[in-house]
Amino acid sequence: MRFSEAKNHRVVSTTGAVTVGRLREFVVDPRTAHVVALSLKKTEGSGDTLTWNNLKAFGPDAVTVESADVITAAEGDLIMMSDKHHRILGKRVLTEHGEELGRVKDVEFDPENGLVQSLLIGSEEISGSRILGLGSYAVVVRL
């Protein structure tokens, strides 16, 4: 599945059968090349972060959770990874040798486990295993 296909996914609680939020951003951990959380908008409470292991399923049309209780505020490393400077979509892609390859137009990921399979930059596909870091300036990839 691609990030672009899940852009406005509703987050639905299976116990309450109601929408408890909407997907705003994917939070990616460059150390593991996985989506580790989802930043949400339009949530009931003050929480806006849904960690990957707290979601039931990421389907083609919606994300399901047990209940809205699992939506909390970001903690620890998640705080930095969730901020707007660390969003992967649109980010410049730089090799570890200092060459710009383009910008991230879309991301192919596995909805079963959150693995970032590849970064799509238009001219080429870059395997997620090449990701070395994701910072405010660029996502750095191995050669």
Binding site: L94, E96, G98, E99, E100, L134, G135, S136, Y137, A138
Partner: protein, 190 residues
């Protein structure tokens, strides 16, 4: 594998960590005048109101110099500026805009750039000159190989009179020029 690069292309290039943060930009290229070996770079901050940084980068602290960024492993690789260049050298030692003068007293033009050869090591291999009439190139930019044995300062670059024979109009001919020039100088010493 080595590449030739103009110093002016590297100046202002962002310094990026492998974690993806642009932590500085290149300010000066600092090199030793005898063999042209690059000692390192001084740095400036990024952003509209940023000034020079007291941190610098020795050549050995750099992970890679690329077309779009200078890469370092992380911010712990920074060195201190005073270890790379001292204040007096920094103030008076900029060769850009120095006059190029032969040891026989002919003005060949003004230095506008330095040419770096970058591989495992980095060195200045020559200069780009806005040429005067004495070079007969119609005032265009020409390239001159770094002489082994003549003095240079922030004021003037002194070259042997024979350097004019090894000037090239474009960088592509430059590789051969450097070697031919050094061979000739070595021959003349005997």
């Amino acid at each position: 594998m080595t590449v030739l690069m103009r110093a002016k292309e590297i100046i202002r290039r962002p310094v990026v960590t492998l974690a993806g943060d642009d932590v500085a930009q290149i300010k000066d290229v600092v090199y030793a005048d005898d063999q042209g070996e690059v000692a390192g770079f001084t740095l400036a901050g990024r952003g509209l109101f940023a000034g020079p940084k007291k941190e610098a980068l020795a050549w050995t602290s750099i992970h890679a110099v690329g077309r779009d960024a200078v890469m370092i492993i992380n911010e712990e690789m920074f060195d201190q500026r005073r270890d790379i260049v001292d204040k007096a050298q920094a103030r008076g030692g900029n060769v850009i805009a120095s006059r190029v003068l032969t040891d026989t007293g002919t003005d060949l033009g003004k230095v506008v750039d330095a040419i770096l050869e970058i591989g495992e090591t980095a060195r200045v291999v020559g200069y780009a000159i806005d040429s005067s009439e004495a070079l007969g190139r119609g005032g265009r930019t020409v390239f001159i190989p770094l002489p082994d044995t003549i003095a240079v300062s922030g004021e003037a670059l002194i070259v042997p009179s024979t350097a004019a024979d090894f000037v090239s109009d474009d960088l592509s001919g430059f590789g051969a020029s450097v070697q031919a020039f050094r061979d000739r100088l070595r021959g003349e010493k005997h």
